[in-house]
Amino acid sequence: MFEVRIHGRGGQGVVTAAEMLALAAFDEGRYAQAFPSFGSERMGAPVVAFCRIDEHEIRTREPVMEPDALIVQDPTLLHQVDVFGGCRPEGYILINTAKSFDELGLGGFVKGFRRERLLTVPASELAREHTGRAVANAALLGGFAALTGAISLDAVARAVRERFATAEAVAEGNVAAAGAAHQWVAAELQELTRATPA
């Protein structure tokens, strides 16, 4: 089982991100369960959504307590909410920002984590470039695909198109943003591999 937790704010499409991730995993023939953190959600308030992916039926209904991967859609939450609760050193973390972990003041916190599993991507900028809006959820899923390999970029694209089936321009813009974020993260990974030879 692969468990993902997504942190963001009301209005950023956090719940939709978890739903699209589940759709992408389903599209690849796997079982997936996506659900929100059940708050009385409102614009700007911290929101959490979860997604589980497995080869078998998923029975548990508890919130994701110890995520295998964490996506932070809004970096202003880093100092407001305990977004890293339950994260383990072998876990993946993807943060939507143009800054690095050090620049975010997280250098100390992530010591002991596997460096190549901690990445940042300017997903809002990429989304704005490709969709005209800074809604970063689809872009982050593209980056997530590159970072974790848990799903393919193709499956993300199909999930985005299914989710926005009635709005083709929105769907295609988000597919492009996901592709750009995927490329960005893949390039970051390559650079890291070069910097730290095995």
């Binding site: 759709l23 997936a32 659900f35 059940f38 548990t60 209904r61 919130p63």
Partner: protein
């Protein structure tokens, strides 16, 4: 072909496959995406003929459903929480009149304090309303139960509530199989009402009944529930024959055959419980689970047969009968009349508190070792409770509980991150 759908969407599509002719709803929170989706299906013409009636309250929603059903129309509505309470008076009329309305209850807590999250307080409060109550474990089962519910309701002429956990199921996106229209049509025959209002041949229903016959009329609702004990397993078997899926039924035992300890529960928490039980089984703990599919009627004999071989039973409840403890526990105890085994009640998940595997594991191990009090509250913060009790002892004007406790909890939560 499987699809990946939100629970509310899946249930809306399943209800539409049942061809309801009247759907009424009060479109305000607490309400679900179910009726929102159905209203779109009616507007687009995909669900036809069907009249969608927006009403001014839940009391009106149930009253319109009663009127529609009394004319022989297949009627459906959905609600939750305070909305269900607001329909209470009409709920008793629906069952007393023998009208086969199907209603989804997307289970949520009852205030005060105000809370929108999941537990079973709403439907449990209507335990004695005369409605059949079926509880879904997954979205697949919720979808399947609605199709079974229309057939059950109409065969017996009695209303059926399908209870599914609010948010946990209604807002979860997961894999479901949606049956085809042809198969649902074959499984669910057209509604043949026992009574129908017809302007061309006017009659009245809903007569006043005095002491000379009230008990007899009232008993018939109970007689129908006793018939439902036979019919629910038959419909589940027919359903499996038609759709190749094991859904519904009175009870759902899991690894109970050689279990010393059996956990009894309803609804979506059964999934988390089964995962926990599997882990404990690997460690050699002889523990099993008994899911209650039909809470009303309560399957006393079936429950007794499953539990009588165990040494202890733990009933996990998502509702609290203030002043005594468990609600389901009372029925389980009744099922076990004359059998001596250890009985425990755990109240869990009230107002949406997550029920985690870690907490369940501790609870089950305590139960298996007979270390539990007869009534326990899973993950209760006793410090917070005791501080408020202390304030009440210290001062007559101790203030409002909710505000005091929120202040306490806020002080804890505001620590360094």
């Amino acid at each position: 072909m499987p699809r990946q759908l939100e629970g509310s969407r899946a249930v809306a599509e399943a209800v539409a496959l049942c061809r309801p002719e009247v759907i009424c709803a009060y479109p305000i929170s607490p309400q679900t995406h179910i009726v929102e989706n159905l209203s779109q299906l009616v507007k687009s013409g995909e669900l036809a003929p069907c009249e969608f009636v927006n009403v001014e309250s839940e009391l009106a929603a149930m009253s319109v459903a009663i009127g529609a059903s009394a004319t022989g129309a297949r009627a459906y509505t959905a609600t939750a929480s305070q909305g269900l309470l607001y329909m209470t008076e009409a709920l008793y009329n629906a069952s007393g009149l023998g009208l086969p309305i199907v209603m989804t209850v997307a289970n949520r807590a009852i205030g005060a304090p105000i809370n929108i999250w999941n537990d079973h307080s709403d439907s449990m409060s209507q335990r004695d309303s005369g409605w059949i109550q079926l509880y879904a474990e997954t979205n697949q089962e919720a979808l399947d139960l609605h199709i079974q519910a229309f057939r059950l309701a109409e065969e017996l002429s009695t209303p059926v509530m399908v209870c599914m956990d609010g948010f946990i199921l209604t807002h979860a996106v997961e894999r479901v199989e949606m049956p085809t229209q042809e198969r649902v049509d074959a499984f669910l025959p057209a509604f043949q009402p026992r009574q129908a209002l017809d302007p061309d041949e006017p009659i009245s229903i809903g007569a006043m009944v005095g002491p000379e016959a009230f008990m007899e009329v009232k008993y018939l609702a109970h007689a129908k529930h006793m018939q439902a004990l036979e019919l629910i397993p038959q419909i589940a078997a027919d359903f499996e024959g038609a759709f190749a899926r094991d859904s519904g039924g009175l009870i759902r035992p899991y690894r109970t055959d050689d279990a010393d300890t059996i956990v009894v529960a309803l609804g979506s928490v059964l999934g988390t419980i089964k995962d926990t039980v599997d882990e404990l089984r690997e460690e050699g703990v002889r523990i099993g689970v008994l899911g209650i599919g039909s809470f009303r009627p309560f399957p006393l004999e079936a429950v007794r047969r499953e539990l009588e071989r165990a040494q202890r039973v733990l009933v996990l409840e998502k509702a609290l009968a203030v002043g005594v403890g468990g609600i389901v526990s009372m029925d389980v105890r009744m099922a076990l009349t004359g059998i001596h085994l250890h009985g425990y009640t755990a109240i869990a998940g009230l107002g949406g508190r997550p029920i985690t595997k870690a907490s369940l594991r501790g609870l089950f191990l305590d139960a298996a070792a007979d270390r539990l009090e007869p009534l326990t509250f899973l993950d209760m913060d006793w410090d917070v409770v005791n501080r408020e009790l202390e304030r009440m002892r210290a001062s007559r004007a101790s203030g409002a509980h909710a505000e005091n406790i929120l202040r306490d909890v806020g002080a804890v939560a505001a620590g360094p991150v």
